[in-house]
């Protein structure tokens, strides 16, 4: 399966599983599907910004700011119901979360706050100019990558 197909497949699959899970009352599978969908929404909005940063799409301050606003909103969502105990990798199909996460929920909260900060910096940079937008991509990548490095099972 080619790489761009993965996100689409994941989204469709996630939505199907989520609806099935909810219909059948499986909160664990639903939580995994919901947090995968949340990640897809990050990717969707990052794509707008990344396209401009890499010069594939013309810089548009309004569109960039809107995408950055979305990132802040997403990063600020209450995620309590995403991280249900018993949804670690191996326990629920499709989950890539290391079980260590549940011993480090304070760290997770700190990392979520770091992502909000990086997204807020992007809000400021996105509406200023292309150079500022490009400079704000790095800290976003670092914030995303730090959590994945700590708590996501590698491929």
């Amino acid at each position: 399966m080619s790489q761009p197909m993965n996100i689409t497949a994941l989204s469709i699959g996630g939505a199907l599983i989520a609806s099935l899970a909810l219909a059948q009352g499986d909160p664990l599978a639903g939580a995994v599907a919901a947090r995968h969908a949340h990640m897809d929404l990050y990717a969707f909005n990052l794509g707008v910004l990344g396209g401009m940063a890499q010069g594939a799409v013309a810089y548009d301050a309004g569109a960039a700011t809107a995408a950055a606003d979305n990132l802040v909103a997403l990063a600020s969502i209450n995620q309590t119901n995403y991280w249900l105990p018993g949804t670690e990798s191996g326990a629920v199909e499709g989950s890539r979360t290391k079980v260590e996460l549940w011993s480090a929920m304070d760290d997770l909260t700190a990392r979520q706050a770091a992502l909000v900060d990086a997204a807020a910096a992007m809000q400021a940079g996105a509406g200023t100019d292309l150079v500022s937008l490009q400079a704000a991509m790095g800290p976003l990548g670092s914030a995303c990558g730090a959590c994945h490095m700590a708590y996501r099972v590698p491929n």
Binding site: Q3, L46, M137, G141, S142, C144, G145, M149, P154
Partner: protein
């Protein structure tokens, strides 16, 4: 019978002497460094490209330990392998347990030839087979920068290696087989591709993780950057030759800068640490690495 025994004994003794001689410590030619002085600012860039902090910071120092202004290279991080577990040494400027009392020559010989100041071989878990191809100027710059880093008194831990891998002298034989002074990717390269080759093959040592190894731990010829099992046991380190990696040069450079893949997933696992280093290079250097990756001989994996 007595004569046979005497001849056998002679051959064994001569063989052992030859073996001892050829597995002796390698050295550097001091003439290569004549007239050069190290520059601390350039050394910081070499330090980032070579990825020293990723292995030599303490394991509990946190994910941003290599992001602080002056990283503390206290050592202690362990690396599982087929030969046992290696533990990275303290290379802070501490004069007792670090490299503070080493001469420039000591440090350069360790980095470029894998030999310690006492003449003992270093294990190739330290990628001196890559660093040996670096330029004398870059290495002097790196030494100058290393000396500005803080001292730390964390004692060095021994490697945990089973017999016969704990025989250091045997690494001399390994070096005879696997040390190379020439580039892996040969041929006419543009200046940009050649810069990328230098960064990848001499400093960033991408091949150490991305190339599969044989039973002796040498890199398999013909499989350069073609992917390998993850030594930590989980997952696989991907094939980044054009036979598998279809990203554009711009996408590769973006990944090395921010960690974002073309689908805006992010680098995870060990690659996140690599990206923290490559994010400190210039855009030109990252594009050079991308250009180099496009001219690496394509390998298509037939077995997972």
């Amino acid at each position: 019978m007595g004569r046979l025994l005497r001849w056998t004994a002679l051959i064994v003794v001569v063989g052992a002497a030859v073996g001892w001689f050829v597995t002796g410590p390698d050295s550097l030619d001091p003439a290569r460094f004549e007239g050069l002085t190290g520059d601390v600012a350039r050394g910081a860039t070499v330090f980032a490209a070579a990825g020293c902090a990723s292995c030599h910071t303490a394991p509990d120092a946190g994910p941003d330990a290599d992001g602080v202004a002056l990283p503390v290279l206290a050592g202690g991080r362990s690396f599982a392998s087929a030969f046992g577990t290696f533990v990275a040494p303290n290379i802070s400027s501490d004069p007792d347990v670090g490299i503070g009392a080493w001469t420039d020559g000591d440090i350069l010989t360790a980095i470029m030839r894998g030999v310690g100041p006492d003449g003992a071989h270093l294990y190739p878990s330290f990628p001196y087979t890559a660093y040996g191809r670096a330029s004398p100027q870059d290495m002097l710059d790196l030494v100058a920068y290393l000396r500005t880093l803080p001292a730390d008194a964390t004692p060095n831990q021994p490697h945990q290696l089973a017999f016969p891998f704990n025989i250091r002298r045997a690494v001399g034989a390994w070096k005879l087989l696997y040390r190379r002074d020439d580039w892996t990717v040969q041929g006419d390269l543009t200046d940009q591709q050649a810069r990328g080759r230098y960064l990848s093959e001499a400093l960033a040592h991408c091949g150490e993780c991305h190339t599969p190894r044989n039973a002796l731990g040498g890199l398999q010829p013909g499989q350069w950057l073609a992917g390998a099992p993850n030594p930590s046991g989980q997952g696989r380190i991907p094939n980044i030759t054009p036979g598998a990696l279809q990203w554009t040069e711009g996408q590769i450079a973006e990944y090395l800068k921010s960690g974002f893949t073309p689908e805006f997933d992010t680098a995870g696992g060990e690659m996140a640490a690599v990206v923290r280093n490559t994010s400190r290079l210039s855009d030109d250097d990252r594009l050079a690495i991308a250009a180099y990756l496009k001219v690496v001989p394509p390998v298509v994996n037939t077995t997972p």
